[in-house]
Structure formats: structure tokens, C-alpha cells
């Protein structure tokens, strides 16, 4: 039983979806990112996804791509990502790292798992790693008690959903639409179908991300999924603020609205 499972169980016991908030470490600066993550949890986020800034984020749209580019230019290193995870975990909220595979590969899968575990992190979301290329990661994550969060997409055929859910732990990340991260006017109608196709193969919670940005969409997703993942909307709130304090406040307000959304009011 990992902290991620506990967070989803708690939401389920309260008859609501879990709220998962994403932000990249080091954006707009390390300290503001940490304070924003803590504000998210205080406003009702159940789980935080800490983005590991990477030079070639090909699943990310301009909002997140620009933010991680700035974070890297600020000099963000993997140690800063782990510090961010530690601050969130110390505050009692589970934190997972969302990362493209090459930074983990270069750091060393075993070393990364060890250091993430020591920082109190709960697992990894891997947008460009599918089970067939995961190498040592399943065995290493098991030995450190970390969750492996793989993605399913509207285009995933049944045999892939079966393979991905079998390889996953903690929760399954369902990509709501065919496209990159970023806010959308309307929720994709593919999301509900994907969640039900996924549930055929697993008892794990299924959380929906990509293209979910406001309270109305959060409420809609909460109607059929176990978790609601919001990323670009938080990054945009951070980017639009004039200073650190107002950035944290903007994140807090957005998180509070989304937290009401997942309570299906």
C-alpha cells in the first residue's frame, strides 16, 4: 500500500475523485514552485505531480514546454526536483515525478529510484516510456516501493491497455484526447470511453489528464474517473503572476476551485 493508493482510497471513501496537480520543478523559481505545490495541497489537491524539466518535452504543448525551458535556463537540476518532492512529502502529501526517460536513464535507474525514495517520493509517471522498453524499471521500482504510472491513450487498442495496466501500479494515467498537454475549451468525448475500456482490465484507480483545466471540466471528469489531473492551467496561473506571492495565491485559488469540482457539486 503506497501513499498514492492511500490518497485515491481516501477520495473514494469521500465519494469523490482525487485531484492531482502538476507543476514543473524550478518554475518560475525553485522556492515559488515549492510554495505553490504546498498551496495546492492546502487547497485540496490529493497528489502532486512534480515535473522534471527536460530539454525535449515532445508530449508537452507550449505552456509547459516554455516553462520547463525557463526552469532549465534557471539552472534546475535533478537535485532541485528531489528537494521539491521532499518538501511536498514532508507536508504529508504524496508526490510523484513526471519525467521523460533520458534523465532517469543517465542518472541511473537504480540511483534515481534510491534518491527519489529517500526524498519521500512515491513513483514515476513516464510519458515516453511504455512497458515494452521499461527494462530494469519494474524490478527496481518494486524493490524501492515506488509506483510505475504508465499512460493509456484513446488510440490504445485492447491488447495494449491490458499490457499497460498489468505493468502499472498506483494508478493509471488516461490521456483524455489525442494531443499534447494544454488547456482545451471542451473536454474530449474520448475520455469517458477510455476510462471504461481501462477499467475492464484493472482494479487500479484511473485518473484523466491532458486538456482538463477548470472546475466544470474537473466535475465532468469526476463523474466517470477516479482522479482528475490538471497541469497547464496551473503553469499558466504561475506564469501570469507578477511576483512569487501572487503566483502562489493564483495556484491556491485555482486548486480550491478544482477541489470543489472533483467533489461533484
Amino acid at each position: 500500500m503506497t501513499a498514492v493508493t492511500t490518497a485515491f482510497d481516501k477520495a473514494k471513501a469521500e465519494d469523490r475523485a482525487a485531484l492531482v496537480g502538476y507543476l514543473p520543478a524550478g518554475y518560475p523559481d525553485k522556492d515559488t514552485a515549492i510554495k505553490s505545490a504546498l498551496a495546492m495541497t492546502e487547497a485540496g489537491a490529493d497528489l502532486i505531480e512534480v515535473g522534471l524539466p527536460y530539454s525535449d518535452p515532445l508530449m508537452d504543448g507550449p505552456v509547459i514546454a516554455d516553462a520547463v525551458y525557463q526552469s532549465l535556463r534557471n539552472g534546475t537540476r535533478i537535485a532541485d526536483v528531489l528537494d521539491t518532492v521532499q518538501a511536498i512529502a514532508d507536508a504529508g502529501t504524496p508526490a510523484v515525478v513526471m519525467t521523460y526517460w533520458n534523465p532517469v536513464d543517465q542518472y541511473g535507474v537504480e540511483a534515481f529510484a534510491r534518491d527519489l525514495s529517500n526524498a519521500g517520493g512515491s513513483g514515476l509517471i513516464t510519458p515516453d516510456l511504455t512497458p515494452e522498453e521499461s527494462g530494469d524499471w519494474p524490478a527496481v521500482s518494486d524493490s524501492y516501493g515506488l509506483d510505475r504510472i504508465f499512460l493509456v491513450a484513446p488510440s490504445s487498442p485492447e491488447h495494449r491497455i491490458e499490457k499497460i495496466t498489468a505493468a502499472s501500479s498506483g494508478f493509471v494515467y488516461a490521456v483524455s484526447l489525442m494531443g499534447i498537454t494544454g488547456t482545451r475549451e471542451a473536454l474530449s468525448d474520448a475520455a469517458a470511453g477510455l476510462v471504461s475500456r481501462t477499467r475492464v482490465h484493472t482494479k487500479l484507480p484511473v485518473a484523466v489528464g491532458v486538456g482538463v483545466s477548470n472546475r466544470t471540466q474537473a466535475a465532468e471528469v469526476a463523474g466517470f474517473a477516479d482522479g482528475v489531473i490538471v497541469g497547464s492551467a496551473f503553469v499558466r496561473a504561475l506564469g501570469g503572476a507578477s511576483d512569487g506571492a501572487s503566483a502562489v495565491q493564483a495556484v491556491r485559488e485555482l486548486a480550491a476551485g478544482l477541489a470543489q469540482g472533483v467533489r461533484r457539486q
Binding site: 527536460y54 542518472y107 515516453d128 491513450a153
Partner: protein, 403 residues
């Protein structure tokens, strides 16, 4: 003669999951995995379908102008390459001016076969973009080409050509604004449009099946050259030399010779201005994951891709096709770094001794052949893949030489 004239067996890589030893594979977003599986299946069916291969052969012959010539560069060899005999495989004479058309015709026919109506591509120097725009015009498909903003400036001629051919050219303003960023944006497009769109990757990189499929479509270069050299000389060359960015022309030139142990395979990478200002991935990088494949890449200790530099936009890329990584690690091929200045000397030498203006990319291979010729001496027979012509580069060359 029989034994040398027979084409050697095709090498047994990649495996069914696209692995060349530890390299290659499919490190792609799940959203694309179904399309990659479909592509692998369709390609497998197409290559065994006599109708498909006949149509591709017809286009290569009647439209692209294959087989391309083999030209001996007598003055170049005598005066610039230590007296070695230099044979040029003239991909510069293929339609659109480079080897890129070989791959594009194959992939665009495959696009039609899959019932898709839109093709996207990344391009660095613009040669792959022009070839893609050309094939899409020929076969009536929509075409969008992603090109780094920096490259749209230094290869302006090719931007105009693509637009005249009816393609939309999207200048990419993210990251370093060169080829790798164009590839990122093409992947971003494809994730959202994969239902009706084929991503026509221009090099032997990306997730499986691209490295294998593009190699197979480019293989014609070496197959023709091997036959032509044997016919003309009665023996195989001592070495095959080609430039390597992503590595499609080099794999195309090398592949038919892999089973010939007496033929050295030498890839010339863009050394740029030296460490820190370079694109010499195999010479200076290490294994990692980029753009869907495990391969050598230029990266820092935490796996961030490094900025690259080359005077040639087509070689200005921090990765390389996984089969080259495999050929390097197995020792079958050698990779050398050629600096901007050496490449420009090769460019100038070919212009003035042979009356051929080569592409800056191909000039790296020419510079490599000059060095190799001096090492091997007058008895050597060296095949150089002249992958493209240099019209697109006259502005860069004029600025470099101050003329």
C-alpha cells in the same frame, strides 16, 4: 567474380521490436504506439507486395532518375586526396537534388496505401522537406514541413521551393530552433493528428519501424554503387565514405557493403568548431534516449540534450540513427569528426577540380575522403556518397569565403 558480385545477405538487425543490439526500440508516447504498430505491419505487407515494389521502382526510375551515376573524380583524387582514386555516387543528380527522394517516395506511397491524406515532415537543410513536398505534390497529399527558424534563414532557397510545391512550412521557434526542435514539433503535431496523418521522418532515426524502413528505402544507393563499382573496376572499393547527421545517406551507402569485410565503412560527422560547438554525436556523445530511440546523443550528465553547431544545417543534430550506434559499437563502421573548416575546404576543392558544387553536408564526406586518400595512397579506391548538391548553400559558402 561470382562470389563478389552476389549481393551479401541483409544484416539481421533490427529484431522484431526494432532493436539494433542495445540501440533503437520504441521510446514513444502511448498515443503513437498504435500508429507505429500499424506502420510496421503495413510496411511489412508493402515490401512483400509486388505491386507496391513495382510502383516504387517505377517512380525511382522514371521520376527520381535512378540509377544515379557513378563518376570518377580524377582531378579531385589526384590533387586533393593523395592520388587515391575517388568514385562519387551522384545522389546530387537525383530529382530534388539529394538522396532524400529515395525514402520519401517509399513513405508517401505507404501513406496512400494506409489511406492517410496528410503528410508531415521535419527538415534541417530543407532537402528532406523539399523531397516530401515534391512527393506530396506528385501524389496529391497535403504536406506540412516543420523547420527550425534558424534553418529557414540559412536555407531560404529551400523554404521557397517547398512553398512553391504547395507545402506549408512552419518555422519552429522553440529550443535551439534547429532540426531537433523541428522534430519535437513534428511529433507534437503527429500525436494530435495520427488518424489521418503520416509522419515522414527523413532520417534513419525515431522509434521503430522508422530506422529500419528508412534504411531499406535508402539501401538502393549502396546496392547500385556496389554493382557499378564492380562493373567499372572489377573489384570492390577499399572504403565507402559518407557524411552522418541522422545518418540516412550513410546507411544507404553502407548497407550493401556490410557483408564485405574488406570494405571499410567511414562516417564523417560534423565536428563544427570543436568540443562545445559541435554535432559529432558518435565521436563525442554517449548512449541515451532521444526522439523515440536509444542511440548515441550529445547530452549532459543529467540527460539534457546539448546545443549543437555545424555550418551545415542538415548535420546539426544531437542524435544519430541507432543502426550507426550499433555499427560503431560492433566496430564494423568507423566514425570521424570533420570540422566546419575542413568541410569548406572539401566543398571548395570539389567545385574547382570537378565542376560540381556539393551540399555542405556532403562536403564533410569529401573532406573525409581527402584525409583518407592521403592515408591510403594512390592504390586506394574510395567510394564517396555525394548525397546532395549545393545550390541551397551558396549564400552560406559565399559568406564563409567572403566572395
Amino acid at each position: 567474380m561470382e562470389s563478389t558480385a552476389a549481393e551479401p545477405d541483409i544484416s539481421p538487425v533490427p529484431d522484431t521490436d526494432g532493436h539494433f543490439g542495445i540501440f533503437g526500440g520504441k521510446f514513444a508516447p502511448e498515443s503513437l504506439m498504435a500508429a507505429l504498430e500499424q506502420l510496421a505491419k503495413e510496411y511489412e505487407a508493402a515490401r512483400k507486395d509486388p505491386e507496391f515494389t513495382a510502383e516504387l521502382d517505377r517512380l525511382l526510375k522514371d521520376y527520381a532518375g535512378r540509377p544515379t551515376l557513378l563518376t570518377e573524380a580524377r582531378r579531385f583524387g589526384a590533387e586533393q586526396a593523395g592520388g587515391a582514386r575517388i568514385l562519387l555516387k551522384r545522389e546530387d543528380l537525383a530529382h530534388t537534388g539529394s538522396h532524400k527522394i529515395n525514402n520519401v517516395l517509399g513513405q508517401v506511397l505507404l501513406t496512400k496505401r494506409m489511406g492517410k491524406t496528410r503528410v508531415i515532415a521535419e527538415t534541417g537543410a530543407g532537402q528532406h522537406g523539399v523531397a516530401t513536398a515534391t512527393a506530396c505534390a506528385l501524389l496529391g497529399l497535403d504536406c506540412v514541413v516543420y523547420m527550425g527558424e534558424e534553418d529557414t534563414r540559412r536555407q531560404a532557397l529551400n523554404v521557397s521551393r517547398m512553398r512553391m510545391l504547395g507545402a506549408e512550412v512552419v518555422p519552429v521557434k522553440t529550443g535551439t530552433r534547429t532540426l531537433k526542435d523541428a522534430m519535437n514539433d513534428a511529433f507534437r503535431d503527429w500525436v494530435a493528428t495520427v488518424d489521418n496523418t503520416h509522419y515522414c521522418i527523413g532520417s534513419v532515426g525515431g522509434p521503430h519501424p522508422f530506422p529500419m524502413m528508412v534504411r531499406d528505402f535508402q539501401r538502393v544507393i549502396g546496392v547500385e554503387a556496389r554493382r557499378q563499382v564492380l562493373e567499372a573496376e572489377g573489384r570492390l572499393p577499399d572504403a565507402v565514405v559518407a557524411c552522418v547527421g541522422g545518418g540516412s545517406n550513410a546507411i544507404g551507402a553502407f548497407h550493401a557493403f556490410i557483408g564485405d569485410p574488406g570494405v571499410r565503412l567511414i562516417g564523417c560527422e560534423a565536428g563544427g568548431e570543436g568540443p562545445g560547438r559541435t554535432a559529432a554525436t558518435l565521436s563525442l556523445g554517449g548512449p541515451g534516449v532521444l526522439h523515440g530511440m536509444r542511440t548515441y546523443i550529445l547530452q549532459d550528465a543529467e540527460g539534457q540534450t546539448l546545443d549543437t553547431h555545424s555550418i551545415s544545417a542538415g548535420l546539426d543534430y544531437p542524435g544519430v540513427g541507432p543502426e550507426h550506434s550499433w555499427l560503431k559499437d560492433t566496430g564494423r563502421a568507423e566514425y570521424r569528426s570533420v570540422s566546419d573548416d575542413e568541410a569548406m575546404a572539401g566543398f571548395s576543392a570539389l567545385c574547382k577540380t570537378e565542376g560540381i558544387i556539393p551540399a555542405l553536408e556532403s562536403s564533410h564526406a569529401l573532406a573525409g575522403a581527402m584525409t583518407l586518400g592521403r592515408e591510403l595512397g594512390p592504390d586506394a579506391l574510395i567510394l564517396v556518397n555525394l548525397s546532395g548538391r549545393g545550390d541551397k548553400d551558396v549564400a552560406t559558402a559565399s559568406a564563409y569565403f567572403g566572395v
